[in-house]
Symmetry: C2
Subunit: 273 residues, 2 copies
């Protein structure tokens, strides 16, 4: 028995697995996990520190906080998974990470409504359209939008808040257009009071996510689009800790001579395969 | 930005890490974790199932139970780490996994004492010696021994037990010898009521560890030996879920004509480098 035979034995231990996909995933996981340990010649104290770290990550999770998603995000695994599974045609809007702050039952709004619903921040208008790759409007697309307030917190992070703020659902008009009021997105640090924050500190990494609005857009006959719109000029666009920024998703929040700030963004959905 | 550039960006995010070893480990971890996800083309629902699984593993841990060590054990990572870090000279006793049931402050016993201390099982004698590779006795070596009872439980797994059972510390005599009374080791299943047990069930893997006695032997000038002695003829020697069995660690518990059962085992320590 040597290091290679241990890896072979661990992979072989899954050989009776009924589900072929589960067998494939676990076999590959063992292969790569062992290759990692051998590449760095992991010591016993380092192995134990890893055990302690993963345990702390699990124990930080609650029904409102998912520290393992945060870990996956800062290791680039979440964005890699998004990129592998969303191979859109050129010209379609790119996908990015979902993040941990989506809520299924957000309030529905009419066009023009103020979805901030009391969240603190600088008022702005958001308007745009949902189209297909040929430029045809997609009517009645379901548009989910959510964002943090100007202190960097989503509504679900506030224990004393009993209603949705800065999130809502709209449906595109017959011409594919939509518009709503909200607050200007601002940069914010990911939660630093858990083991993932400790790791970012120990590795001198920035916790600041560049300002962004989350969108999920669904329409019959099209692939669901999960993405962000990022803010042009944000200081953290090059150092997003979750690797979510795509150049095509950066847009201007423009303040006009009337003092009103407006974001325009047009989404292009990929047809279902 | 594509899948390869995401991996490069995630590795590069650790480039300012002060501690060169931490930087090496995290960079390698990202490389192998991403290679795993790409090899199996991990889907988004599979990624989320993995997040849920790891969260459950962390949340199963308490001050008396370490489900992440159990996960590392059944994936072969623990044994691989032991093998990489204990490269003994030929003729020395082989190492195996530490396991989660060692206790620092176990009771000290004189030679011949009954360390079972009330644990249920068939009585037996254990005797042997501690020597170096040249056959010279190692006197006053600290011998830690611990084991499960005949129902498969270690003392620390019993909530209503307030004293040590089937564990103790002895010191080898001037001629390197030792002996004590205890109970015969029996096979037992690893804990199946957590997420690791669910994984073993889903993959049709046996949870049964072959019968074994744990030993940790320490002596000045020698590498600490952490190992098991396994029982010849045990039905589970070929399917140990933690990959801990080594042929050289299998021994006979011999029952004589007088009805007494005895295990003889001689340990050979590796000189400190």
């Amino acid at each position: 028995m040597n290091t290679h035979s241990i890896t072979a034995a661990a992979i072989d231990s899954f050989s009776n697995t009924d589900d072929p996909r589960l067998k494939e995933i676990l076999g590959s996981l063992v292969k790569h996990l062992h290759a990692f340990a051998m590449d760095v010649k992991l010591t016993e104290p380092e192995w134990f520190r890893g055990i302690e770290f993963l345990t702390a990550v699990g124990q930080k999770c609650t029904d409102k906080r998912q520290e393992f998603i945060l870990l996956s995000d800062v290791l680039g695994l979440s964005m890699l998974t998004v990129a592998m599974n969303n191979d859109q045609a050129d010209g379609c809007t790119e996908s990015t990470v979902f993040g941990p702050f989506y809520v299924e039952e957000a309030p529905h709004y009419e066009h023009g409504a103020d979805i901030s619903n009391g969240a603190s921040g600088q008022a702005c208008m958001v308007q745009g359209s949902v189209k297909n790759i040929s430029g045809h409007p997609i009517p009645h697309a379901t548009i989910d939008v959510w964002q943090a307030d100007d202190e960097g917190f989503y509504d679900v992070q506030k224990d004393d808040l009993d209603h949705a703020q800065a999130r809502g659902v709209l449906h595109s008009r017959a011409d594919g257009s939509f518009n709503f009021k909200t607050i200007v997105a601002e940069a914010y640090p990911i939660p630093m009071d858990g083991p993932v924050g400790t790791m970012l500190s120990a590795t001198q990494r920035s916790p600041w996510r560049p300002a962004h609005l989350h969108f999920m857009i669904r329409a019959e006959g099209y692939e669901t689009l999960i993405t962000h719109v990022f803010k042009q000029g944000d200081a953290y666009l090059q150092t997003d800790p979750v690797f979510g920024v795509r150049d095509s998703l950066i847009a201007d929040w423009v303040t006009g001579t009337d003092g009103l700030t407006t974001l325009n963004f047009d989404f292009v959905l990929n047809a279902e395969k």
